[in-house]
């Protein structure tokens, strides 16, 4: 596969999805996913409960210092994110989602399976995800 925005998120931006994501106002988090348990499908998965079985460790804290259109036109960016003391299984992808507090209504946003250090075999220490200098993604 390749890094991608979830189709449901893209359609939601255009207004066709039941819920919409406000990247600025909503709580955006990252998830490390074990594909051996649950392989994300960016073309068909829409909510976090579609991939949550594969979660390794816990969701990240909320992305901080979010910007929209600051790095460049149409670019979403935020501070790098650190997962603390990850003790679970090997990880094949990093995913962004809107955390509504309910996995069945938490929209999936972005899927990253092509990055330096992926797949990653946790060592029990922290895992820090560094976003590209050009921003997390461009819409």
């Amino acid at each position: 596969m390749a890094n991608a925005l979830y189709v449901a998120f893209r359609n939601g931006v255009l207004g066709s999805h039941a819920t919409r994501v406000d990247l600025d106002a909503d709580t955006i988090k990252a998830a490390l996913i074990d594909h051996g348990t649950d392989t994300p499908a960016p073309t068909t998965d829409d909510f976090y409960n579609d991939i949550s079985a594969g979660l390794v460790g816990a969701l990240s804290s909320a992305l901080a210092s979010k910007t929209i259109g600051t790095v460049a036109a149409g670019v979403f960016d935020a501070d790098n994110v650190t997962f603390t003391a990850v003790s679970g299984n090997s990880v094949e992808s990093v995913n962004l989602l809107k955390d509504s507090g309910n996995s069945a209504t938490s929209d999936l946003i972005a899927y990253f399976d092509t990055a330096t250090g992926l797949p990653v075999t946790p060592n029990g220490g922290d895992i820090t995800v560094t976003w590209a200098a050009g921003g997390i993604f461009t819409f």
């Binding site: 299984n89 990093v94 990253f112 250090g117 990653v120 075999t121 946790p122 029990g124 820090t128 560094t130």
Partner: protein, 115 residues
């Protein structure tokens, strides 16, 4: 026990590949290129890549250790040394940049090849 140090008797500076044939991927997994952190292959079963350092050692989480320790023992690894403060690992969503380990040799577990 945050991390467990495992050490291979002879392999040094390689990406050691262990396949857990009990766990099929729901969808075949296309591993990233060696320069990024994977092996470039397509995996049908859950695969763990261990970056062995110049002493043949790697640190794995307890979750990984519990899943593959029998396989590691078969392959001759020394097992079970606790690491209280494992170093941080970096993942970079910037695929144009090579991973910290670079394009190192990929080695498959002999136990996998026997299956």
């Amino acid at each position: 026990m945050p991390g467990v140090r495992v050490q291979h008797p002879t392999q040094r500076n390689v990406r050691y590949t262990v396949v857990d044939s009990r766990v099929p991927y729901p969808v075949p997994y296309q591993c990233t290129a060696p320069a990024l952190g994977g092996c470039g292959g397509t995996h049908l079963f859950k695969t763990h890549h261990l970056n062995l350092d110049e002493t043949g050692a790697a640190i794995v989480s307890t979750g990984v250790y519990e899943r593959i320790r029998e396989r590691l023992a078969l392959d001759g690894f020394s097992l079970g040394v606790e690491v209280r403060r494992p170093p941080a690992i970096g993942v970079g969503v910037n695929p144009s940049k090579p991973g910290a380990w670079g394009d190192i040799p990929i080695v498959r577990s002999p136990s996998d090849m026997a299956n």
